[in-house]
Subunit: 192 residues, 2 copies
Amino acid sequence: MYDLILSNVSKHIHLTREETSLFISVLKHRRIRKRQYLLQAGDINQYENFVTKGCLRAYTVDAQGQEHIAMFGLEGWWISDLYSFLTNTPATQHIDALEDSEVFSIEKSDLDRLYDQVPKFNRFFLKLLQNAFVAHQRRILASISQTAEEQYLDFISRYPSIEQRVPQSQIASYLGLSPETISRIRRNQVSK
Amino acid sequence: MYDLILSNVSKHIHLTREETSLFISVLKHRRIRKRQYLLQAGDINQYENFVTKGCLRAYTVDAQGQEHIAMFGLEGWWISDLYSFLTNTPATQHIDALEDSEVFSIEKSDLDRLYDQVPKFNRFFLKLLQNAFVAHQRRILASISQTAEEQYLDFISRYPSIEQRVPQSQIASYLGLSPETISRIRRNQVSK
DNA sequence: CGCGACGTTGATTTGCCTCAACGATTGTGG
DNA sequence: CCACAATCGTTGAGGCAAATCAACGTCGCG
């Protein structure tokens, strides 16, 4: 049950037995049914969440009611509205499940205590965030410099596991394209 | 001379006198003339840079020769090609100066040693990166959900100091718009 | 002075969106 | 278990926001 998250941690730092059990003691296991919210915009994001099963998404809803996906969360990924989490302000993002899912959640106060008691967790989350930051930078540059087709092809080659699991319309929403555009790109693709 | 960077650090962590002098000892002061490179794509980004004076930009150049600005760096900001820095691989970004500038640079090996000797620097860079991550997330959502005009107005209200200092064409390049579009937005704006 | 950098403006093009209709598949309540 | 609704993707027609192309004015600098 703890294998996935412990191997995720051990990619970056090494934990002693005591540190491991301390870490495990702050994990809250939760099941989220498809379409169920893990977080609603307006609420305060109390948890950093690690996905152990299924698939979630974080997204905003604009004035026209359109959804814009900030990130997906598959097995082995972390997902939260980080700004809300850090500043204790109401979330601007919703997080919900695209499939029946399971996560481990760490409460903010527990995480802060963990940072103090086992300082190397600072290093761990620093590493995580470095990776996320680099990925975001790439996404920004893609968004401002590439055509719709380039963005889509890049996406599916970079995240084939997402492309296979989530509806095309969700990928469209992640890329900032219309579902029809994705459909047309795919049509042109087969004839190439 | 060290005031700006020390106050930047002390926003997030407190340093003893010894830690402060250790920190200062790894800072390399550099002057970069307008149009001069701090980093060229293809080279390995050896430094994390803190801007103490002037204004720099990090950007990629695509196959058509078009520049796309990843980030600006004004006084008090950090700037680097983080991916290259972390992985020791050739940079994909150029960094150069839009004005005569000065920076403090920290070499990677020094930073790694600093992390070990003064672990709270992990915390410091974690905090920095959290802020940067949140800003990037906002930028992504803006880019995929807003019109050109909304993006531009958002930008100048969020970063008035940049808008006053850098050419409009550079802001266009940051937002992924053409310079002409920015010009037209501004024209419509005055008549409102 | 003359040149390059920068911004403006107009004309035209184009990539992608919107709107609308439809088929296939999935899921669900009677 | 079937019928009907919802979800999802596809396709076509038309429109529009922003890009492109081109010409020109202004300013600052070497």
